[in-house]
Amino acid sequence: MSGFGGFLLRRAVGTVVTLLAISVIVYVVFYATPGNVAQITCGPRCSPEQVHQVAQQLKLDDPLYLRYWHFLEGLIAGQDYSTGTSVEHCSAPCLGLSYQSDRQVMDIILTKLPVSLSLVLGAMVLWLVLGVGTGVLSAWRRGRFTERVLTALTLAGWATPVFVIGLVLMIVVCGELQLLPFPQYVKFTDDPEQWAWNLLLPWLSLALIEAAAFARLTRASMLETLAEDHIRTFRAYGVAERTIVGRHALRGALAPVIALNANNVGSAIGGAVLTETLFGLPGIGQELVHAVNVVDLPVVVGMVLVIGFFVVLANAVADVLYAVADRRVVLT
């Protein structure tokens, strides 16, 4: 099989294999984690009998392979869970129930994911515009005053932790100037305008730092392309420097930017914990940290798989973009 269909099929198979491998690793790591999961789940005041009961209910005493097998079964066929009084059906693909809340992991993910996606995709637009723009400008104006200012700014941006930028923004914009209310998450489907206003500061804080990395990468990549022979050709034919930079050099410089963006988008979906915490956004990252703390294995596995899925997806999109940007690239 060849062409775009073949590419998609191969990628899909690869994704499934990758995700299964990730889930095995998470299971093994958590199995080896010290601490009594049943005790933690039940709470500090539980009696030994209660703890024993919880362990049985959660099948914590089963061997690892059996638990993993149940997990796979649920994923493919769905599963019924008894929660003491009633039986709850969890339809395929079932990621199990949270030890802590008895909620279905899939439900938890579906409520948290829109928050994280809103944050990351919005911030991505900002960091690409700011980062690539700054990078192109400083490559074009290299050695001049503009470039030195931009270099200093990007270095400062890179070196500043997100909670510092976020806090400063919040204190200045919401506190002192009172331009915006303190952010709280509003669903896009409820009120798109409020959604955007409330996310503006989180977007900015996340994007400013990422933009610094993109600016430096774009600048380096642009300088490399500008030194290539075909750029010299267009200079020797009287094409204006603006056109050379914007049309010929930028296109050649985009490949590493696409690659970095894929990685950063993928990992920010689960990894923007600081931003989420700072602005009180109930996203994937926050939930994951919480689940790890209370050893809520089904939630951790579910979250990690979702994050893994987005990393793989972002990279597949990047590969397609490569092929669009550079026609010599053949998708395989």
Binding site: H230, T233, A236, Y237, G238, V239, A240, D326, R327
Partner: protein
Amino acid sequence: MSLVQVTDLTVEFGDLRAVDGLSFQLAPGAAVALVGESGSGKSTVASALLGLHRGTGARVGGSIEVAGVDVQEAADEELRRLRGAKAAMVFQDPLSSLDPYYAIGDQIAEVHRVHTRVPRRAARARAVEVLDRVGIPDAARRSRSRPHEFSGGMRQRALIAMALACEPELLIADEPTTALDVTVQAQILDLLHTLREETGMGLLLVTHDVGVAAESVDEVLVMRHGRVVEHGPVGAVLGSPAQSYTRELLGAVPRVDMARAPSQASEEVVLEATALRREFGRGKRAFAAVDDVSLTIHRGETVGIVGESGSGKTTLGRMLVGLLEPTAGEVRHEGHARAGVNPAVQMVFQDPVSSLNPRRSVGESIADPLRARGERDEKQIRGRVTELLERVGLEGAHYDRYPHEFSGGQRQRVGIARALAADPRVIVCDEPVSALDVTTQAQVVALLGELQRELGLALVFVAHDLAVVRQVSDRVAVMRRGRIVESGPADEVYDNPQDPYTKQLLAAVPALDPQVAARRRAARRELTAA
């Protein structure tokens, strides 16, 4: 009034004076060549004519006038209008000189529109027109191709088409054929000649190849260290050079029509290849790079393998050394078949820059084969490497130096010393001198000959340059598309070629005598017309 008037031009990069007090002029429609070895400053002059040094930190002195524009004083905007419209440049490496991301027709149209402000469609039509003019078949369709879909020769034609788009008065061609095969080179030079006849544009040709200059221009400037050594009509300068450097340069140019003294070959067979075949790729994409090639190499002789790019000569060389496994057939060394690499068969590579590890001293690189053989005594190793360094004309004290401290020719000597370290019986040289200047080339070729006589080595000399191959070889095999089309004693093959492809190759070699060159061009025209 002259088209180009350069007076007392100097170009300095930091402390380096690349061009030093150069003056020349070029009348409208005339053709002048700047000839010199690498580092002579010839390309720097070409760039200076278009003011391409502006903003790079280079200091340019003297005066340059091109098509009525004072390049030194002109405003950026005026200079932009000169570039491409009145004076267009064609560069050496057609592979990298076009933007890989855009269609070729679009790139030509873009340049055209910069200068003419015609509508997009008209510019695109002009692009197709000039592509057709330079002989791209089916130009309308091929104008939508990207550079990687073109062959080297077609890319060079496309660059020339770009130059033609605005009908310039001057064409500056900087090593326009250096990266091309000899038959393609002849086509490109013929094309430039025809275009000049038709359009009456002036030509400034920059080249290291005296033969290319003899083919194409009326006047020659021989450059060395940024200065003009000799200047005059091409026939006079090449026919009876007045300066010793020019004589030296011409003396070093290998001649395709000159026989060589044979080496002392014996009847003893050291390397024998039978029915070698090598495929690359799988399934439908599989193709045979080398197909049914048999070769016998005797002790003390040199076998030249000549062919154009893609003919399979390098693949063959690698199989002889054992770096590549043949798909079929076998290589026997002194009667024994042997898989894998063989210390008695060594290789010298084309690019002396990339075939030495830049992070290790040259002594360490030469010591590699000794260590690989199990030698552990450091004193012994150092002694042997010093001996080898001296043997190839370097100094023993160079042991601790790094490759970047050496010139191209010296690095190739290091490569040869490394090959000698294993006490080989056969050395396969893959384009050993094609990256070198002619004078360095002659020295390295002489060294190989000396080593052969002294050590009784057999040499397999793989190269695309027909003249160099003739200079060194006792027997020659001509390769095309993976097969040997003709082989035999060098003098027979060169003086009385039987295969039409061999004839075509030999007809394409540039002649040093302008009159001979003109006769050959006429002959080539008849051949293509017929």
